[in-house]
């Protein structure tokens, strides 16, 4: 297996406050990896550091190329789609415009049109609402739109920040099913940050557990899910 993303000794800062304390992990091509941890552990910061949206030091390599000196938009152009916390929906624009924005860096018009149709096949509810203002969608629909928008980039790697946040459990199940399907069928590697550890471990193949800016546990998702001590001390279920 080849390594797609390699993070070494990552330290990140918000002003004077250090949020990550030398965090290292890697993600294999084609894998669905989850980053678990409590509130404030540094999960979101890790994703933001990968996209250079927070001041950080250390090495981040994507397919062997360093990301640290690149701007956010240039990192995205390498094929890293980031669905931020709060989904980043362009609420005043229509559903279809949101999808077009996902593909704004692409030039192949025909490919974009057929990809939009593909997204409507994955998420039929978006098709019903394609002329609707995205801000009027429900939380679950907006999360689907956010995932679809990220896929429009035809990414190699998708970063998802708490996709389950604020959604009803049934909606979360559906969403996670689709994520698994995307990972298998579209060959998109996924790094998902979650507080809902149980669900994330069911979905993922690899898992890392973060506590106060450091990796404290890593391994196959199944093993971590089966380790009662880990579950009790870090994951709280």
């Amino acid at each position: 297996m080849t390594t797609l993303l390699n993070v070494r000794d990552l330290r990140a800062y918000y002003g004077q406050v250090q949020a990550l304390h030398g965090l290292s992990f890697s993600l294999n091509e084609g894998s669905l990896t989850t980053l678990l941890g409590a509130n404030g552990a540094g999960k979101t910061t890790t994703l933001r550091a990968i996209c250079n949206m927070v001041r950080s030091t250390g090495a981040i390599e994507f397919e062997g190329a360093p990301l640290t000196s690149r701007s956010t938009e240039n990192i995205v152009r390498l094929g890293i789609a980031h669905v931020p916390q709060g989904r980043g929906t362009f609420t005043t624009m229509t559903v279809e415009e949101n999808l077009q924005l996902g593909a704004i860096t692409r030039r192949d018009k025909a490919g974009i049109v057929s990809d939009i149709e593909r997204m409507y096949a994955y998420f039929p509810v978006l098709k019903q609402r394609y002329t609707q203002q995205a801000g009027t969608l429900s939380g679950g629909e907006q999360q689907m739109l956010a995932v679809a928008r990220a896929l429009m980039l035809r990414p190699r790697l998708m970063l998802l920040d708490e996709p389950s946040f604020g959604l009803a459990p049934l909606v979360v199940r559906d969403l996670f099913k689709i994520l698994g399907k995307i990972n298998r069928e579209e060959k998109v590697s996924i790094l998902v940050v979650e507080q809902n550890a149980q669900l994330a471990l069911e979905l993922a193949d690899q898992a890392y557990v973060i506590e106060t800016g450091r990796i404290v546990m890593s391994g196959a998702a199944q093993e971590i899910a089966n380790d009662e001590n880990v579950r009790k001390s870090y994951l709280g279920y």
Partner: protein, 292 residues
């Protein structure tokens, strides 16, 4: 009745210019959240450039389009040199930047072309339009050019890739970067377009107010009034506001006793204050529909 329709039409024609200025102001406001106090001076300088070209023998329309192109480039240059470094600076620093820009451009124009009032040609002539006494051909031309410009802008923002990217960058910069949009250049592009739109407004109004370094002062205040009335977050509002302010200004000057030509400008200011007190978001101010 003739006087009334005459005033309405005259209002629409000057309103077209206010609409352009308001649109330019809104464009920059959307991009960087600041009001460009120097918008009028930039337009004035562009108008002088076109005048200079015509003095050198370049025909009107060639000078017109050359000036639009030059203003576009100059707008981008101003953003890159002066306002990009100020992007994260406090509001007052930016305001100081705008005032500096205002005086630099105003004084440079005075230095180069001096402060005497100059005639500015119109390509439309000033005969009665279609034989009617209501408006002149130049006024009709002002309305026509503005409408063409607005239609062009509408199609640009609604149906082109760059237009979509610019709207995205203005509404949610962080999300825009996360889909790969270079938001910094979108801001520069917004400046370029605002500067070009201002140039069009300046060249169209110059035959009416005559060419001199302070020609756009009053016009910009009406433009601000239009932008505030329509809502600073809404380009459509800015345009509607522009026409409304133009009509209102003319009707007030004609029918309210004691207003006349001298008190027209304070009316714009009174309008700004009333809108800010009664409906701060303006007529078309953004009402975001949101459900979480």
């Amino acid at each position: 009745m003739e006087l009334f329709s005459n005033q309405i039409l005259a209002g629409i024609s000057t309103g077209a210019i206010y609409a352009c200025m308001a649109l330019a102001v809104v464009m920059i406001y959307q991009a960087i959240d600041h009001l460009n106090f120097a918008q009028g001076e930039m337009a004035m300088f562009s108008t002088f450039i076109s005048w200079q070209m015509m003095q050198w023998g370049i025909p009107y329309w060639a000078a017109f389009f050359l000036t639009i192109g030059l203003s576009f480039v100059a707008g981008i240059a101003i953003e890159r040199i002066l306002f990009k470094p100020l992007a994260k600076a406090p509001v007052l620093t930016n305001v100081a930047g705008f005032i500096a820009l205002y005086s630099i451009i105003n004084s440079s124009a005075g230095l180069i072309w001096d402060f005497t009032i100059k005639q500015y040609p119109t390509p439309f002539g000033s005969a009665p339009f279609l034989g009617s006494q209501l408006i002149s051909t130049h006024q009709a031309g002002m309305i026509g050019v503005t409408i063409l410009l607005l239609i062009g802008l509408y199609f640009f923002f609604q149906y082109t890739r760059v237009g979509l990217a610019m709207r995205a960058a203005a509404s949610l910069p962080e999300s825009a970067r996360l889909v790969g949009i270079n938001t910094s250049w979108m801001i520069a592009l917004g400046w370029g377009m605002a500067s070009a739109i201002g140039a069009i407004a300046g060249m169209l109004i110059a035959p009416v107010v005559f060419l001199e370094p302070n020609m756009m002062g009053g016009v910009l205040i009406y433009g601000f009034a239009a932008a505030v009335l329509g809502g600073l977050t809404s380009p459509l509002g800015a345009v509607v506001g522009g026409f409304l302010v133009g009509i209102f200004e003319n009707l007030a000057g004609t029918y309210i006793p004691g207003v006349g030509n001298e008190l027209k400008l304070p009316i714009a200011l009174a309008l700004i204050i009333s809108v800010l007190v009664v409906k701060p978001a303006g007529l078309f101010g953004r009402a975001i529909v949101k459900r979480v």
